[in-house]
């Protein structure tokens, strides 16, 4: 029995204006109600193309599509997408209108725009900033690395556009919220200049990131009467899951469509979701959703397995006196593991727990490890510990460098050898590793071979090398490798194609033997092939990025081949270097390691959550950044200076909402791990562990010797 049962009872197909709003906390069944509504519409004969469904992220899109597929309904082909994807679709379909609107700079019109993501945006911005940086010597004193500066600039731009503000409001708002010291002012002028240069360049070449898409949609389409009429005429029903309360553009669209649409059903969270907080505009969010208030449909909260703990942690974080424990009686378990003295001991306990869960038959995809921050020590221990049981680890944080993957290094080494004209000879260590990998050499053997065959940035013919007798059997293999490099020296293939060839013709035949031909069947149970699949996914992602880079360069008028050297440099040190190339889609078997913020935002509900470093103070994070302040760039900021008190309040709010969002996604068991000391030996003093202990105490926990278990 779900709290959502019966919500739709008595509903007809038509629901008059204003929109109906579904309320309920995460996990209470709002999505289920929307899916039921969708099915109800189709069964009553509505044409699917007249029903627009907006969901919050790509995972939700996949979930909806899967459920619809399972219905196996005749003719069903719903338009399920995120609001951003919908905006993109509208821009594409109506691009002629955008070009003729006069909003874009007066260059020759293009058949369609080029859409880009954050990394490509950083890439363009770094070009624009190259001209601006010398004017601002004060930037040299900045604590923020150049790559992070660019992220902050883009963030500032995106934030004002999302809030429906003109882009040139950034500078006055930043100046108003800080003390007006010369360094601070110079930073702000830099941001304003960088945004103006970036925006101008992107608009000129029709290269659009998320913020530019939203801005163009608002300027060119939402102000066009013909477009609005067509939009209203073609939209019969609208279903919105996890409405972005802080996005006035989305609200404007809903408001307009709902005047003619036959029904609009919007799912919100009355207490404000994480999205509202990240938008930094709770005042605006509340104001925007006020028009809906008369049509609330409440869903019972009883359906949530860990509602009690989620509410308790939220209340403790925001320091509400009303923090009380009201066990829901649901069968989810909180296990408090005794705090270890040293952090490495905590890792051992954690790994043992993962093993135990897997041994009990819990699928590895249903286990997530959540940390306040992922550092190399945690990553290494977890990866190595799980690898002993053949369990791969998937990391969804910002710390998984693409060049940390050996196959990526091997492939880039190969292409650098195949393009001597780039004058980017690979380092000797990379050549050693490549030879070790591709010739199947022992680590003791590979430096010797490398010294023999690699000179002046080029490989030598085997005949010219004093080939060791021990390695005579690798000589033919080396000849094949040398032949491939020489052959490719004469090819004019672009970098992405060269990488594809290096993978398909060299790496795969030498390193992935055993994956095929039985890769089709039973790989879900084969951990070895899962591990290989992760490598292949990573390589595929690298190639896709190289291709996108080439297309981007062509779109910016920098030649069809782009600048492959710049792409290669950027994966070692630049826009791509510090960002993971996370493959999309699910893997057959892997434990996932998330940062808390990442899981709260994007993680799917799972059976078991394992929280680590719970005694760490890193769960509290300041949002004050050196260059921008996200709060004051929001639509309704009217509090003048942003003080430390504001920051502390926001940290607490963010933590509370993050904790609640994470716990709400726990279906069966939540394990808590902590250590008395951090990796540097310092004593840990974070309060979160204490809150868990208080909760366990209040629910009269029974200690079983190894962990304290509490039924939630």
């Amino acid at each position: 029995m779900s709290g959502a049962d019966g919500v739709l009872d008595g509903w007809s197909t038509d629901l008059s204006h204003p929109p109906r709003v579904l309320n309920g906390p995460p996990g209470s069944g709002k999505t289920g109600v929307l899916l039921m509504r969708f099915r109800q519409l189709l069964q009553s004969g509505e044409f699917p193309t007249g029903v627009v469904v907006w969901v919050s992220n790509q995972q939700a899109v996949q979930h909806w599509q899967q459920v619809i597929r399972d219905w196996n309904h005749r003719g069903v082909n719903a338009t399920v997408m995120t609001f951003r994807s919908w905006v993109r679709q509208e821009l594409m379909q109506n691009w002629a209108l955008v070009e003729s609107s006069g909003v874009l700079p007066g260059k020759p019109p293009q058949a369609r725009p080029f859409f880009i993501g954050l990394m490509a945006a950083q890439h363009i911005l770094s070009d624009c900033c190259a001209e601006i940086d010398p004017k601002h010597d004060v930037l040299a004193e900045s604590f923020t690395a150049p790559a992070m500066r660019r992220v902050q600039v883009l963030d500032a731009y995106a934030r004002v556009i999302e809030h429906g503000l003109p882009y040139d409001t950034v500078l006055p708002r930043l100046n108003a919220c800080h003390d007006a010291g010369p360094q601070s002012q110079a930073f702000h002028v830099y941001i304003a200049e960088a945004i103006a240069a970036y925006r101008s360049r992107c608009m000129t070449y029709r290269v659009l990131d998320h913020a530019l898409q939203l801005e163009l949609f608002t300027l060119a389409l939402l102000n066009h009467r013909g477009y609005l009429q067509r939009l209203a005429a073609h939209t019969q029903h609208v279903l919105v899951d996890d409405f972005e309360e802080c996005c006035p553009v989305a609200l404007r669209v809903i408001d307009h469509v709902s005047k003619k649409a036959r029904s609009v059903l919007v799912a919100c969270n009355p207490l404000g979701g994480l999205r509202e907080y990240l938008g930094g505009d709770p005042v605006g969010a509340r104001a925007l959703s006020q028009g809906f208030e008369e049509r609330y449909l409440m869903i019972s909260e009883a359906a949530l397995p860990a509602a009690s703990l989620a509410d308790y942690l939220y209340a403790r974080a925001v320091d509400e006196a009303a923090a009380s424990v009201n066990p829901s009686g649901k069968r989810s378990i909180l296990s408090l593991h005794p705090s270890c003295v040293l952090r490495v001991q905590m890792f051992d306990v954690l790994i043992a727990r993962v093993r135990a869960l897997v041994a009990q038959g819990v699928p590895s995809q249903q286990i997530v490890v959540i940390a306040p921050m992922v550092d190399p020590l945690l990553l290494w221990h977890l990866r190595e510990g799980l690898a002993q049981d053949g369990l791969p680890l998937r990391v969804l944080t910002g710390t998984n460098r693409v060049v940390d993957h050996r196959p990526v290094r091997v492939l880039t080494t190969l292409v650098r050898l195949a393009r001597p004209q780039w004058q980017m000879p690979p380092p000797e260590a990379d050549v050693t590793e490549m030879l070790e990998t591709l010739l199947n050499l022992h680590p003791l053997e590979s430096p010797h071979v490398q010294r023999g065959v690699y000179q002046d940035g080029q490989l030598n013919v085997a005949d010219t090398v004093n080939w060791p007798r021990l390695l005579e059997n690798r000589r033919a293999s080396y000849d094949g490798l040398y032949g491939w490099v020489k052959q490719m020296c004469e090819s004019e293939a672009p970098l992405d194609v060269l990488l594809e060839q290096a993978f398909a013709q060299v790496y795969a035949p030498r390193c992935l033997l055993g994956l095929a031909p039985d890769g089709v069947k039973g790989e879900a149970g084969s951990l070895k092939s899962t591990d290989v699949a992760m490598d292949v996914l990573q390589i595929d992602q690298l190639i896709q990025n190289a291709r996108t880079h080439r297309h981007l360069m062509a779109a910016l008028g920098e030649g069809s081949a782009g600048d492959p050297k710049r792409f290669l440099r950027s994966i070692y040190a630049g826009e791509l270097a510090e960002r993971p190339l996370i493959p999309r889609g699910s893997l057959p078997a892997a434990v996932t390691l998330y940062t808390a913020a990442k899981y709260a935002e994007e993680g799917a509900p799972v059976a078991h959550q394992l929280w680590v470093d719970v005694a760490s103070p890193l769960w509290w994070k300041s949002d004050i950044r050196e260059f921008i302040n996200p709060r004051v760039l929001s639509r309704n900021w009217d509090e003048g200076m942003y003080t430390e008190d504001h920051d502390q309040r926001d940290q607490a709010l963010k933590l509370g909402r993050t904790l609640r969002a994470i716990v709400s996604k726990c279906r069966v068991g939540l394990d808590v791990f902590a250590s008395d000391h951090g990796s540097d030996g310092a004593e840990l003093s974070g309060e979160l562990l204490g809150w868990f202990a208080e909760f366990a105490h209040a629910t009269r926990a029974i200690a079983n010797g190894t962990a304290t278990e509490v039924s939630l």
Partner: protein
């Protein structure tokens, strides 16, 4: 709500993949396998044609929406030529019911088949499905008539297109499929009818039955379906074993080695004479 068994959703491309090779189909639709591999014999040329084809479809869709994208078509000479051919065709007129970029799916047994129609035009009781083609070569009309797209699209429209016809099912005889080749300004017309319609259903059921029995072994032969008309993306995966054999060295070829051979591999270390104080 989510069941354990999921209905397989297939398009004409998926059905073509099945015909080409069961393993290609499995790697693409049953257990999707990301596998980087060169696409086509000339990747850059095929990339350009695909990109232009996509742009043309966008321009035609915008025209169907009531916009005038002629100025946008000027960006590339091929695109401009194609768009003018489209404008001159008998299927560019927007008077009467015209549906553009329409997605429809129909159930056949446990399978869902999906069609994305470039354009569906209603002329009285007749429905014309138009598909814009940018290929350089004109195909043999008889071969084209047996292509999955020519079979599937009219089938799907007859099965689930009633919403386009005031809630009344569309008779197969009322549907014709037009492939319009913008490079040549020529069309190939294929008439649907009840016999053909039931033939498609039988074919789909037959395919479904063979999928249920399939072990997804490769059904393409090297040098034929694996490499033609363009190399299969999974060629290197399927033929890993063959490729390895070419370079493998037989055990007999491994020379006998002694301890000196190992010592010869050790790097030469240099030691400081003075001990280092810690």
């Amino acid at each position: 709500m989510t069941g354990e068994s999921h209905a397989l959703v297939l398009s004409a491309t998926g059905l073509r993949a099945w015909d080409r090779c069961e393993r290609l189909f499995a790697f693409t639709y049953i257990h999707p396998m990301p596998w980087p591999g060169p696409q086509g014999t000339d990747p850059q040329l095929s990339e350009r044609r695909t990109s232009l084809g996509t742009q043309l479809h966008h321009l035609i869709h915008q025209h169907a929406l009531g916009l005038d994208p002629r100025s946008l078509a000027r960006t590339d000479p091929d695109l401009r030529r194609w768009f003018e051919r489209y404008r001159a065709s008998a299927y560019a007129a927007l008077d009467g019911p015209v549906h553009s970029e329409l997605h429809l799916s129909a159930s056949v047994g446990d399978m869902v088949v999906r069609a994305t129609f470039d354009r569906v035009i209603q002329r009285g009781s007749e429905f014309v499905i138009v598909d814009w083609k940018t290929s350089e070569r004109l195909p043999d009309a008889r071969v084209l008539a047996d292509d999955w797209q020519a079979l599937l699209y009219p089938f799907v429209l007859a099965e689930v297109g009633s919403a386009l016809n005031g809630g009344v099912a569309i008779a197969p005889e009322a549907i014709k499929m037009v492939f319009y080749y913008v490079e040549h300004g020529q069309e190939v017309v294929i008439q649907h009818d009840s016999e053909r319609h039931e033939g498609v259903r039988s074919n789909l059921l037959r395919v479904m039955a063979s999928m249920a029995r399939s072990g997804y072994e490769p059904t393409g032969k090297q040098g034929q379906r694996c490499l033609k008309p363009a190399p299969c993306r999974f060629y290197s995966l399927c033929h890993l074993a063959d490729m390895r054999i070419e370079e493998q060295v037989a055990d007999d070829d491994v020379p006998e080695v002694g301890p000196d051979d190992y010592l010869a591999l050790l790097p030469e270390y240099e030691f400081d004479d003075e001990p280092v104080s810690l």
